[in-house]
Amino acid sequence: MSEPMVEQLLDVTVTVNGRPRHARVPARRLLSDFLRHDVGLTGTHVGCEHGVCGACTVLVDGAPMRSCLMFAVTAQAYAVTTVEGLGSMDGLGPVQQAFLECHGLQCGFCTPGFLTTVTAFLCDNPDPTEGQAREAISGNLCRCTGYQNIVRSVLRAAELRAEAT
């Protein structure tokens, strides 16, 4: 038997939802796995691991990124926001509240990716048309809702954000 293949581990620290989070991980550790399995923030979901479904979308310095297409080591220079950073059970953020009101989720698996995507979108376009709302979510897959109530949720979230300011 040859020498066992042992992986080199790296000290990786990523700022997640405002807190520095550290783990010793191999260079190939995906940011999605780092968040889920090393940091224990399992709200970010993995639907395809090839960057198409968008379920794993997190905000990297405020911009939506597929955490399955990014290595944890690469994320060290940035501030990462996950679904857990968008609000809490007692204080839902406006996008979360809108999804609740508009039945914008069913199984909830793809939902965190939509929430982060919509959060970033509304920062850029706080008052979207219905067409723009639909366009904004058209890079995320949902198998349950048919998207109609997600489009409504985007528009409602825009209202809630406007009311809050």
């Binding site: 923030l41 979360q96 069913q106 199984c107 048919g146």
Partner: protein, 816 residues
């Protein structure tokens, strides 16, 4: 008010948790568990000559490698055939790990367990399996030709052959003034939930107990299967379905190989083991559905009434038949929709191919049957020059004819007997919604602008809420908290909300006090599962019955304590009170205290209850012979037959005259699932179903090459619709209550997807003027059909031509 909860669009109770990252899906559990990964067959059909695992042994973190040779006892036997049928004469199931032979790409051959998934996959890459490729059968035509066999002991590749006939179809065809023959096909698609399958197993060596978590549609089924396979007492195995990220059918089949192997390895290694399916695995080793070829022969009178309907179809069941022939049986029976042909015969062959196995996907054979029936209706209308909606209405079963027995045996082996429905009313609403009668004006206007548009229609009836049973258990704690349990599982249908609505309504308690658990065998060991649009019907009614039992007990106890008659009591907002004298009351929590003679004053409710303590009668047992301690209710609902929901859809499409792109301009749904518990959730189900239907009509297919490789096994290549592909869906609801169950409800889960391919085909045909007989249809395929049509190879519809001779469908009966 609690009395308004039932039927109201109550917001979902599960959502705050799911919206904040608090969901607990399979891979969110078992931090630190060992990870399993699988070496899967790269060949569609091959003999396994040798497996060399030595390369994997170098991988740091490797824990175990297993092949078929390592499997003991019943783990080494073929997986069960869940639903046998006399017509399934050649049922075949796979081994948990392939033994000697593989029959499709993706079949598991070697199981690896390692410290994490990365390392497990490293090890898989280093395992060498030597195969001897065998001839491959791909596609229904190849299976029918049977030049090669999938299983050498299955002649003709025929797993099952079934005929059902009502009346004398051949005689009726011969006597019919008009006849047509249609050849139709529907391609493969798949459930494709965003969360794949997954299993986590914890073996408790001290207790000799197995706790199993599975992303499944049936935890009771998985539990029983694993207990049997591992030769464990049922009492020592529990199975819990945690939050499940969508199912749509694929997770009802069980046990999957991994559901047996992961707990087996966990016990053997005495370590927690987890397997989470990745997307490629889901494409090549979970189930597909839909693929069927149909030949329809129909005879009708001058008014378009169905005199004879003869349907033969060939169903691709993939490499194995663990779920029996449920899908083709449903196709063959539900094909009839809202119509009443004078004579009907349906004959099908279920065929093996060297592809991923086929089990129900939302709709479960109905979309194909609906496609066949509705294409036939359009063809009849075209032949006679009668309005398409009118031809349908002439064949409707009328409300006065309900209940209507179609004379066939349904999927549950019971008569296909429609319980209720008002098809003329549904059609009238749909026509009004889509402005059916005004479409000619719209078309002319569009044509003047150089645009090509068409309108399509499709009707269906869906058997929902099949038995045999579901159970409900309700317990009121001394705090007033109401614990509700039902055994079937949840995959996004909002069960924590709708079942809470049922119980809150029946019991008279605030919704916030009701906590629903589903799919946990520790809480409800008897259950069937979530499929066949059955959850609301089955568990909804079981819980209503359980709540009624609990309510009766609460009233009895309170009446005794308050010294009034039970008839004088009501329960409002969780308080039992005297009607007209609400000051005389006690909370349900207090009633719960009183229901248990062991009454330590642990909490305020117990202290409060002491004031009601009756005389301590030395001649009476503390718990009477006919009573039980605790404020609980439990009941089961077991119907004699399915309920039948129905609906009708219409769509307006535009096809680009140059590029043949297909755009859905309008999509209208009228849907009748009986009494609705929560219309918001029903509507969400319809939206999601239509979206999957649109995928099946225009985008999704499983592209196998001739060697059995699935060429599009990723979300890059399998075109699931995004928001940009799904139209705005207009909906309207009828509520024709089912007379069969206490709540009057019918199922709604699958309805949305059933007629979509039929509707879109109808609309494209209407726009193009030549028949559409195969779905899904891409712009490339439509373009090719146009080319053939222009070359004269594809006839025009009668309504698109002045020449009566160029009929779109053969009017002579062609033998199958």
């Amino acid at each position: 008010m609690t009395t308004q909860l039932f039927g109201a669009p109550v917001r979902r109770r599960e959502d705050p948790r799911l919206l904040t990252g608090g969901g607990r899906y399979l891979d969110d559990l078992g931090a630190g568990a060992l990870a399993a990964a699988f070496v899967r067959s790269p060949h569609a059909h091959a003999r396994i000559l040798d497996i060399d695992v030595t390369g994997a042994l170098d991988v740091d973190g490797l824990v175990a490698v297993y092949t078929y040779e390592d499997l003991p006892g019943r783990v080494a036997e073929p997986l069960p055939l869940l639903i046998p049928h006399p017509a399934l004469t050649h049922g075949r199931t796979q081994y948990a790990l392939a033994r000697d032979e593989v029959n499709h790409v993706g079949e598991p051959v070697v199981m690896v367990v390692a410290r994490d998934r990365y390392l497990a996959e490293d090890a898989c890459e280093r395992i060498r399996v030597e195969y001897e490729p065998l001839p491959v059968v791909v596609g229904i035509e190849a299976a029918r030709r049977a030049d090669d066999l999938v299983h050498p002991d299955v002649p003709g590749n025929v797993a099952a052959h079934l005929v059902q006939e009502v009346g004398d179809v051949e005689a009726a065809l011969e006597g019919a003034p008009h006849t047509l023959t249609l050849d139709l096909s529907v391609e493969r698609s798949a459930s494709m939930p965003l969360e794949g399958k997954g299993v986590l197993a914890r073996w408790d060596a001290e207790q000799g107990e197995l706790r199993l978590f599975s992303s499944t549609q049936t935890s009771t089924g998985v539990r029983a299967a694993v207990a049997a396979k591992l030769d464990l007492p049922l009492a020592k195995v529990e199975c819990i379905a945690p939050d499940v990220g969508g199912g749509f059918g694929v997770k009802i089949n069980h046990p999957w190989p991994e559901e047996v192997l992961v707990p087996w390895a966990a016990r053997l290694l005495d370590r927690e083991v987890k397997w989470v399916e990745d997307r490629r695995e889901h494409f090549i080793s979970s189930a597909h559905e839909r693929g069927q070829l149909h030949r329809v022969r129909v005879g009708f009178d001058d008014d378009g009434r169905l005199l004879a309907l003869d349907v033969r179809f060939w169903h691709d069941n993939g490499a194995y038949t663990p779920y029996g022939i449920i899908v083709p049986i449903i196709t063959s029976t539900q094909l009839l929709g809202p119509y009443k042909p004078a004579a009907y015969r349906c004959e099908f062959w279920s065929l093996y191919t060297n592809t991923v196995l086929v089990t129900p996907y939302r709709g479960a054979g109905r979309p194909q049957g609906c496609f066949a029936m509705e294409r036939t209706m359009d063809a009849i209308a075209d032949r006679l020059g009668v309005d398409r909606a009118e031809v349908r209405s002439r064949n409707f079963i009328l409300p006065s004819e309900m209940p209507y027995d179609q004379g066939l045996l349904f999927q549950d082996g019971r008569p296909l007997k429609y319980d209720s429905g008002d098809f003329p009313a549904t059609l009238a609403r749909l026509k009004a919604m889509v402005a059916w009668d005004d479409f000619g004006d719209y078309r002319r206007q569009a044509e003047a602008e150089g645009r090509r548009v068409g309108m399509g229609i499709g009707c269906y009836v869906e058997g929902t809420g099949v038995g045999p049973y579901e159970g409900g258990h309700i317990q009121v704690e001394t705090s007033g908290r109401v614990n509700v349990s039902t055994g079937l599982t949840s995959q996004g249908q909002g069960h924590q909300t709708v079942f809470a609505q049922v119980v809150a309504h029946e019991l008279g308690v605030p919704l916030e006090d009701v906590f629903v658990t589903t799919g946990d065998t520790r809480r409800m060991p008897y259950a069937v599962g979530t499929f066949a649009s059955r959850a609301a019907v089955m568990s909804g009614n079981a819980l209503a019955l359980a709540a009624r039992a609990l309510r009766a007990k609460a009233l009895r106890i309170a009446a005794e304590a308050l010294e009034v008659a039970t008839e004088d009591l009501e329960i409002v907002e969780g308080v039992v009170r005297v009607k007209g004298a609400p000051g005389t009351s006690m909370s349900l929590g207090t009633v719960s205290v009183m229901s248990n003679p062991l009454r330590y004053a642990f909490d305020e409710a117990a202290k409060a209850a002491t004031q009601f303590a009756g005389a301590n009668d030395p001649d009476r047992a503390p718990v009477a012979d006919d009573d039980e301690p605790g404020l609980e209710g439990r009941d089961f609902y077991s119907p004699t037959q399915a309920t039948f929901a129905n609906g009708m859809h219409a769509a307006v499409v535009e096809t680009d005259p140059v590029t043949a792109e297909i755009r859905i301009l309008r999509y209208c749904v009228v849907h009748d699932c009986g009494t609705m518990i929560n219309p918001m959730i029903v509507e969400g189900q319809v939206h999601g179903g239509v979206a999957q239907g649109v995928g099946g009509a225009l985008y999704e297919r499983m592209v196998y090459d001739e060697s059995g490789q699935l060429l599009n096994a990723s979300f890059m290549d399998f075109l699931m619709p995004y928001a940009s592909e799904v139209p705005y869906i207009e909906t309207d609801h009828l509520e024709t209550p089912s007379p069969l169950n206490p709540l009057g409800i019918k199922g709604a889960g699958e309805a949305g997807c059933i007629p979509v391919s039929a509707v879109i085909a109808s609309a494209i045909e209407d726009a193009e003027g030549f028949p559409i007989t195969s779905m899904p249809i891409s712009p490339v395929e439509l373009w090719e059909l146009r080319r053939r049509h222009e070359a004269g190879d594809l006839p025009s519809l009668a309504r698109s031509t002045t020449s009566a001779g160029s009929a779109a469908y053969p009017s002579t009966l062609e033998a199958p």
